[in-house]
């Protein structure tokens, strides 16, 4: 009770805290809307009643697994922003004699409330997008009314978002409570180690073994489970090498850096390669799917149009293409939003430093360029790296697609470029001056 009343008293959104709170709630809203839409899209395949229905469900499951990572990153970025904007106020609570438990209680309650508000907005957004999304065609007919989820599932998603928000803010806060200075000073940098690369090689070997045996499994459910499990393992493997790879990008940039903004950008990446990786991990997987799925779909499409247009198989290829593009779009929206949130949070954290550096004659543009470089460097490096590696992995497929279906390849590449531009836009939107203006409304 005491927790609740204190949380209410201190949690009232003052002008300075309105901006971070709105950002956080907005992020949760977007996550909820995207999750609801994705689930609805996946479930809508239930209406497909032919020999391909199992295939469709499997592909939808794959897309969902793929989108979990960027959406989870977005959710945790939101949670971290909310925790950060609470820092100062909470240290006041502690100074006034509040116990760590009380501080934790306030944080969790407030984060849950903000997430709930966001989730409600997310439902509205989902409902608003539904007519548009319903127009997307699979197996020759629009999704239509199948986009509407039943209220039970919607309630589950809301509950999930609120729970995740509460839990992650609780964990985030625990670190601050243990070491109040840890956040500000960040004296240790987590160092990803090369041993991870070994683990990953092992995992990949295991996965390819499982995939090669896939025809042995007659039962569709088992096959689906193996495929999804294998994919999840792959994602896990990627997350082990990712920070290390991003660290390599940072080191290469540091070595080459000649201008202050490039030096700073490289150091910002190296400050926390794991976090930089988390931001762009969705892109790595999306690019992989774009190359493999896209090449496959492009070639199937070609074969399909030659045989019988309108047959389920011909439609399948077009649908895989649609699915790949949707996955790219959703994934990049999430990455762009989590980038915006992380950038805003960092800038808010550093308001005093940025204003001070400006006094010293360091121009805003220098800091801006550094910030842009620290985000876009990993985005482009990881994206290109992933495209090249996946291209090599399925070289015959990708090569044929490029020769025989250049238009499909161009569409996919265009979507990827648009995605990268969206992330760049998010960085521009959260320029330091914009972000600081947000806080200065009061």
């Amino acid at each position: 009770m005491r927790t609740l009343s204190l949380a209410w008293l201190l949690g009232k959104p003052t002008a300075a805290r309105r901006a971070p709170m709105l950002l956080t709630a907005g992020a949760y809203g977007l996550v909820s809307a995207l999750v609801l839409t994705t689930i609805a899209g996946a479930l809508s395949f239930n209406r497909i009643q032919n020999e391909l229905s199992g295939m469709y469900l499997m592909l939808a499951g794959l897309a969902c697994v793929l989108l979990i990572v960027p959406l989870a990153v977005l959710g945790s970025a939101a949670a971290r922003l909310s925790a950060r904007s609470q820092d100062l106020r909470l240290s006041t609570v502690r100074l006034l004699g509040g116990t760590p438990g009380l501080v934790l209680g306030i944080t969790v309650v407030e984060s849950a409330l903000v997430a709930f508000t966001g989730a409600m907005a997310g439902i509205a957004l989902y409902a608003g997008m539904a007519p548009l999304v319903g127009m997307i065609q699979f197996q020759g007919s629009a999704i239509g009314a199948a986009i509407w989820l039943n209220p039970g599932i919607i309630a589950l998603v809301v509950l999930g978002v609120v729970l995740i928000a509460a839990l992650s803010s609780g964990f985030g806060m625990r670190k601050i409570i243990v070491s109040p200075l840890g956040v500000r000073n960040r004296s240790q940098t987590p160092k990803p180690r090369w041993i991870r690369a070994l683990i990953v090689v092992g995992l990949i070997a295991g996965i390819s073994q499982a995939f090669s045996m896939i025809s042995v499994f007659k039962d569709l459910a088992v096959m689906l489970a193996v495929l999804l499990g294998g994919f999840a393992l792959g994602v896990g493997a990627l997350n082990l090498v990712g920070p290390w790879a991003v660290g390599l990008i940072g080191k290469a940039k540091l070595k080459k850096a000649e201008t202050p903004e490039k030096l700073l950008a490289a150091r910002m990446i190296l400050e926390n390669p794991a976090q930089a990786w988390r931001q762009v991990s969705g892109i790595a997987m999306t690019c992989f799917v774009a190359v493999v799925g896209g090449s496959g779909a492009a070639l199937m499409n070609m074969a399909g149009t030659e045989s019988s247009p309108g047959s389920p198989d011909a439609l399948l290829s077009a649908d895989v293409m649609t699915g790949v593009i949707i996955t790219i779009v959703v994934s990049f929206i999430s990455v762009a939003c989590s980038t915006a949130i992380t950038q805003a949070a960092t800038t808010l954290d550093r308001a005093e430093l940025y204003a001070g550096l400006n006094m010293l004659g360091v121009q805003r543009s220098t800091m801006e360029k550094a910030r842009v470089g620290s985000v876009m460097g990993p985005v482009i490096g990881v994206g290109l790296g992933s495209i090249i590696i996946s291209g090599v992995l399925v070289l015959p497929l990708a090569g044929m697609a490029m020769i025989f279906a250049p238009l499909s390849v161009a569409i996919i590449l265009g979507t990827l470029v648009a995605g990268v531009l969206a992330v760049r836009g998010a960085v521009a939107l959260t320029s330091t001056s914009q972000t600081l203006k947000l806080v200065r409304i009061d």
């Binding site: 150091r267 910002m268 004659g361």
Partner: protein, 268 residues
């Protein structure tokens, strides 16, 4: 702009070679900064209410006064960080005198980067960078290549007693060490005038004294000019002159060396 970096007196090996800070320096030289009739209002508050002040080349000036009396506003105006509502700040340079209050933001920003150095209470160091990179950054922003900037920055750090800590990040330094990095950064560009706003305000008194020694020796000890806001009378007593402010006006001016107080505006 870079030419100052290669001036022989900047070679940090010689930083303290004429650190004769005990000898009262003769300031027969011309003023490097002269402020006339500075006025600055924030709403109904007069932060500066007709301030006249001359800062001579090579002297150290302490600005004291109660909280809210306009010390920081005066420092910011002298340094071209803020523009006054009226009045002028003349800066003497080899090219003659220039009223910096008439310059646009980007010209003042350039001036702050190249001609002035700053040491603020909170250091304002970039946490992602190492100590030496923070210092080198000031040179790189002025256009010096990284390969030339790093050795100069290193020399400054060793001269200020930070040898061996060059590669540490700011979070791995103590408050006093971080403040020395800030002092190195303020001067590595060859700045002739150093502005400090409570540079020891966040330090304990022993560390504060050490940092103050380093600051005095590396600035006025080398013939440069120091303008410093402070709350601490002991810190102020180390300066050539103490200016006291109240409600945006200079109320008194003392020379710690001699007991007599000079009325405002009556200098030279």
């Amino acid at each position: 702009m870079i030419e100052a970096n290669s001036a022989p007196e900047q070679a940090p090996g010689t930083i303290f070679s004429h650190a004769a800070s005990n000898n009262p320096t003769q300031h027969s030289s011309a003023p490097v900064l002269s402020a006339r009739a500075l006025r600055r209002a924030y709403g109904s508050t007069l932060a500066l209410d007709g301030v006249d002040l001359e800062i001579l080349t090579g002297e150290s000036v302490a600005i004291m006064g109660p909280s809210g009396s306009g010390k920081s506003t005066l420092l910011h105006t002298l340094a071209g960080i803020e523009k006054p509502d009226s009045g002028s700040v003349l800066l003497a340079s080899s090219a003659g005198q220039q009223d910096i209050t008439t310059l646009g933001e980007s010209a003042r920003s350039k001036l702050r980067r190249e001609a002035f150095g700053f040491v603020f209470q909170s250091g304002l160091l970039i946490p992602e960078l190492t100590a030496v990179e923070n210092v080198a950054m000031a040179l790189m922003i002025n256009g010096l290549p990284r390969a030339a900037a790093l050795p100069q920055a290193n020399q400054w750090l060793s001269a200020l007693g930070l040898a061996g800590m060059e590669e540490r990040r700011i979070g791995q330094l103590s408050g006093g060490q971080a403040q020395r990095v800030a002092i190195a950064r303020a001067q590595v560009t060859g700045a002739k005038v150093i502005f400090a706003d409570e540079p020891t305000g966040a330090l304990d008194s022993a560390t504060g004294t050490e940092v103050l020694n380093v600051l005095m020796e590396s600035t006025v000890g080398r013939g440069n000019t120091l303008v410093m806001v402070t709350h601490d009378a002991d810190v102020a007593a180390r300066c050539d002159r103490i200016i006291s402010l109240r409600d945006g006006k200079i109320t008194s001016e003392t020379r710690p060396g001699s007991p007599n107080t000079i009325a405002p505006g009556a200098q030279h």
